[in-house]
């Protein structure tokens, strides 16, 4: 589209809002009778022909806002107008004009693809004569035409999401409301969903209001509203946010691949730094102000520094008040050593590992090694077999075939001894909500057989390490999400295990807690703890030394982040991201064989 067209189009849509939220307040009464202000004085407009994104950390109020727009919740005060209709007094009319996809997609598992579509067409009153044409278009758009007779429950995550979208679009709505549509879906499906959304916006000229916690998705929106603790912090075009960040974002290259993590920890400790991440093998730094002279790392001769184009994520992190403080609090006074070299002894080894549930093979022929002091990532979309693999590694689930050795013990024979050497943090954190922080730590310490003096010593360590001292008498259930995660991790580390297994530690945790988490993991690895971690966030792979990408129970690729990224290298895309690499791998465009010309040998796996 030419710039002139864009301008004309934007003038046209300016006067045609599909959603207008004015002075919106929403209160909930919590169980302890406290009033929670979920949304305060929110004013938002979404225009026809535009994609309006709603971003914010967990608990910022995104879902509440979408639900109010869909007529599922009633505002405490303020007005919500959808396509000119009041969402409270004209709810039914609003509901026959909006398309809404809830977080769980709202599909009936026992019904087939076409039966689900028939149901929503009946409910929305789509005339029978119009259906074949509409179905054809939706099926073609979502590439589900070949699966119309398959039950929704048997579809993959990405296909379910597309079917959910097709059902929401069954009656060509004036506005499409999407509540975190891409959570837990693989990068390929995420990309496809956005393609469909943009096709709709262009061809049907509808308005889209979408909440997301993926900041790269927010950057694709025409207009972004940033929510923070129930209030609108800022809004505008993503490009505006990014332009303002010019001169504040840098990429710092490390001397060697091994020292990236050390450099990362060092830069995180600098004052005047708002955000530090590892991206494509380099450390990305966002500063508080443009070209701050006081910052040591900006002296060019010390390190290879390059100013880079800001991303929306950089802007987002800089926007949220006080985000830089987290890092410095976490790192106060910790000694930073280089990754100890030459420790190539394997701590975890699996050989041709297999797991079969009934007729379904969840894990196929998995072989890998994790060395001491390594951070090893197990990546893949939901349902790839990560958690199953994980449970086998911890001895919670017997393997159907193959060998596992953990800390030198064969898990088939000496499960108990291997367990004493490992710490495990489950996805739901497994804490006792009714016990205080101190009581939780005592319990887990005793369960691992720590005697009194050692237990007291370790609990003091946990207070210092995780900043839990001021929370010690609070019930675990009443802790904020980030602190629950800290407590769970402290409990897993009390008995000083050599190996730490973390199952999806960052899912359902906001970007800030995720950053803290990786900094801390980085610290433990530097002290020689081996960390095995699963995640479905592809960009988190950058923090790992090596990783294994799984899909449908099989190994897609294994190696260092740089090596995986290299696989997707092409003239069109000289610097691919982890997402690009996953997409290329999942498409079958590249593979480990193609990349190297032969199957990765054990020597290569260890390098």
């Amino acid at each position: 589209m030419m710039d002139g067209d864009l301008l004309a189009a934007s003038e046209k849509v300016q006067c045609d809002p599909v959603l207008e939220i004015c002075g919106l307040h929403k209160e909930f009464v919590a169980k302890n009778k406290k009033i929670v202000h979920a949304l305060q004085d929110v004013r938002v407009k979404a225009m026809r022909g535009r994609v309006t994104g709603l971003v914010g950390a967990d608990g910022a109020g995104k879902t509440t806002m979408i639900r109010i727009a869909a007529g599922l919740l009633v505002p405490t005060s303020g007005s919500v107008t959808v396509l000119g209709l009041d969402s409270v007094t004209q709810t039914l009319k609003v509901q026959s004009a909006v398309g809404y996809m809830p977080q769980k997609f709202g599909l009936y598992q026992d019904l087939s693809v076409s039966e689900n579509m028939d149901l929503y067409a009946d409910l929305q009153g789509v005339p029978r004569a119009e259906r074949p044409k509409r179905y054809d278009r939706l099926l073609q758009m979502t590439s589900l035409a070949a699966y119309t007779r398959r039950k929704a429950g048997a579809l993959s995550g990405g296909m379910k999401q597309k079917l959910g979208l097709a059902c929401a679009l069954i009656k060509s709505p004036g506005i499409l409301l999407l509540d975190e549509p891409t959570v837990g879906v693989d990068p390929v499906s995420r990309r496809e969903l956005w393609k469909i959304v943009y096709e709709l916006v262009e061809k049907d000229n509808i308005g889209v209001f979408v909440s997301t916690s993926y900041l790269d998705e927010a950057a694709r929106c025409d207009h972004v509203v940033v929510l923070h603790q129930g209030q609108v912090l800022l809004e505008g075009a993503p490009r505006e946010f990014m332009t303002k960040m010019r001169g504040r974002v840098f990429e710092v290259a490390a001397v060697s691949a091994k020292s990236v993590r050390r450099l990362y920890a060092e830069l995180a400790a600098e004052s005047g730094v708002v955000d530090v991440t590892i991206r494509s093998g380099k450390v990305r730094v966002v500063t508080e102000k443009e070209k701050q002279p006081g910052i040591g790392f900006l002296v060019p001769e010390k390190r290879a520094i390059k100013p880079v184009e800001p991303s929306f994520e950089d802007a987002f992190m800089a926007m949220i008040p006080g985000s830089g403080h987290h890092f410095r609090q976490e790192l106060g006074g910790r000694n930073l050593a280089d990754v100890p070299d030459g420790q190539d002894d394997a701590v975890v080894t699996t050989q041709n590992l297999q797991k079969v549930f009934g007729g379904f093979t969840a894990v196929k022929d998995l072989s890998f090694t994790v060395n001491r002091g390594e951070i090893f990532g197990l990546l893949g979309p939901n349902g790839a077999g990560k958690s199953t693999t994980f449970r086998m590694l911890c001895g919670l689930l017997p393997a159907s075939g193959g060998k596992i050795s953990v800390a030198g013990y064969d898990l088939h024979r000496s499960r108990a001894r291997a367990r004493a050497r490992l710490g495990y943090m489950a996805q739901q954190f497994s804490l006792y909500g009714q016990l205080s922080v101190k009581e939780n730590l005592r319990f887990f310490g005793k369960a691992y057989g720590l005697n009194n003096s050692r237990l007291e010593h370790r609990i003091r360590w946990a207070y210092d390490e995780f900043g839990l001292k001021q929370w010690q008498d609070k019930m675990a259930a009443s802790l904020p999400g980030g602190y629950k995660q800290r407590l769970a991790m402290a409990a897993a580390l009390l008995h000083e295990p050599d190996i730490l297994f973390l199952d999806e530690p960052t899912s359902g945790v906001d970007p800030f807690a995720r950053r803290e988490f990786w900094l801390r993991i980085n610290g433990f690895a530097q002290q020689g703890v081996t960390v095995v971690v699963t995640t479905h966030f592809m960009e988190e792979a950058e923090y790992c030394d090596r990783m294994l990408i799984m899909s449908q129970g099989e190994t897609l690729a294994m190696g260092s982040p740089a090596k995986i990224r290299e696989l997707a290298c092409s003239p069109d895309n000289p610097e691919p991201t982890m997402d690009d690499a996953f997409i290329a791998l999942a498409d079958g465009a590249v593979n480990m064989d193609g990349g190297t010309g032969k199957k990765a040998s054990p020597e290569e796996q260890r390098s």
């Binding site: 709810t91 809404y100 769980k104 599909l107 009936y108 039966e115 149901l119 009946d122 409910l123 009153g125």
Partner: protein, 376 residues
């Protein structure tokens, strides 16, 4: 146009519900398999009759009369007789609960009977289970009474009783407690099934996130109500029919009423239970809790207050008043009447009216509680 849309929505939601019933074995298991299992367990397990009661017999008399009487005890289905020589031995057996009663015939029993003075049979029963104790007393009296009758007929004994009681049992001629229990059990079981069907199915939709998507479509509240009542009414009635068939064909309970009356009255009863389940589901969004509450709020009141197990006439007035809001109470009465007596409209009509009133009451309340919002 708007009615056409209404039927389109209703058709869509009904077809969805039926497909789910057909494909998800859990609702079929709940509506058809569970009543069968419960009916067999309770039908065979819960009986108010006592058979093969172990008793000790102490006969200090060897005469003709006492041996005849003892033979009758030994031949009776109700007793398993252990003969012992002394009372001390018999008491010991009673103490260790090897026997539930002692039948004691004194040494002059035969002579007294023959002499017309009237023999005495001493019966000692374990009174821990009062109900069972009364049963044993009754059986002893029956056996002894029959023996006296026979002797009177033979002219061997003088009857000292001037008035004889001609007993005749109506409606349940064999005095078989199963004929009373099984129709009552059907009531209890179908109460539970009716409540569970709607309460669980709605909670399942919340758990799977499909309810949220439903609420954002232009569904009216009446669509939601009908969409749940119609399919589960039909499914519940199939379960009901199956239970009645098992009662008549397998347990041999007589059915003397008309099937038309049974159909109409059990429909009302089923609707009341489904309505109650829907009412619960308005507040409960977790299947596990829905199942628990269904048992506590639905099954237990039906069990205790329907008059099936505990006679309502002998309960305190307060409890009797409370029992009037338990639909099972009316259907227990209806099913007893239909199975054993026939279409006695003097009983069926008032009970049926109460059930109809309750069905309307619960369904209306459920309708008012159905909300298209996420908050109550």
């Amino acid at each position: 146009m708007s009615t056409a849309l209404f039927f389109m929505r209703l058709r869509g939601i009904l077809r969805k519900e039926f497909l789910q019933i057909l494909r998800d074995p859990s609702s079929i298991a709940l509506a058809l398999v569970m009543p069968m299992v419960l009916l067999f367990i309770f039908g065979y397990g819960v009986t108010l009759d006592a058979e093969y009661i172990p008793v000790a017999v102490v006969a200090e008399d060897n005469g003709n009369g006492s041996s005849q009487l003892l033979q009758r005890f030994e031949l009776s289905q109700n007793f398993v007789v252990t003969r012992v020589a002394t009372m001390a031995e018999a008491e010991q057996l009673l103490n260790v609960r090897r026997v539930d009663g002692i039948i004691h015939l004194r040494e002059n029993f035969s002579a007294k009977v023959a002499g017309g003075a009237g023999g005495q049979v001493q019966v000692i029963v374990n009174g821990v289970d009062a109900n069972r104790a009364r049963l044993i007393q009754g059986y002893v009296r029956t056996v002894a009474g029959k023996w006296f009758d026979v002797r009177t007929g033979e002219g061997l004994a003088m009857v000292g009783v001037p008035v004889s009681i001609a007993q005749r049992v109506w409606f349940n001629e064999e005095v078989e407690s199963r004929n009373f229990m099984v129709p009552g059990l059907i009531t209890l079981i179908m109460t539970l099934i009716g409540i569970l069907l709607t309460a669980l199915v709605v909670a399942r939709e919340w758990e799977r996130g499909t309810m949220e998507a439903m609420l954002v479509t232009p569904l009216r509240r009446i669509d939601i109500l009908l969409g749940k009542i119609i399919p589960y009414y039909l499914l519940g009635m199939v379960g009901m029919g199956l239970s009645v068939a098992v009662a008549v064909l397998i347990f041999g309970v007589p059915f003397r009423g008309s099937f038309g009356a049974l159909f109409v009255l059990s429909s009302l009863f089923m609707l009341a239970s489904l309505g109650f389940g829907l009412l619960l589901s308005a507040a409960i969004r977790i299947q596990f809790v829905a199942a628990q509450i269904s048992i506590v709020a639905g099954f237990l009141p039906a069990f205790f207050l329907s008059g099936l197990i505990f006679d309502l006439e002998s309960t305190p007035a307060v409890i009797r008043i409370v029992s009037h809001i338990v639909p099972a109470r009316y259907f227990v009465s209806i099913s007893h009447t239909l199975f054993m007596a026939g279409d006695v409209w003097e009983v069926l009509l008032p009970d049926g009216l109460m059930l109809g009133f309750m069905a309307i009451f619960f369904i209306t309340l459920a309708y008012r509680k159905i909300t298209k919002r996420l908050e109550g």
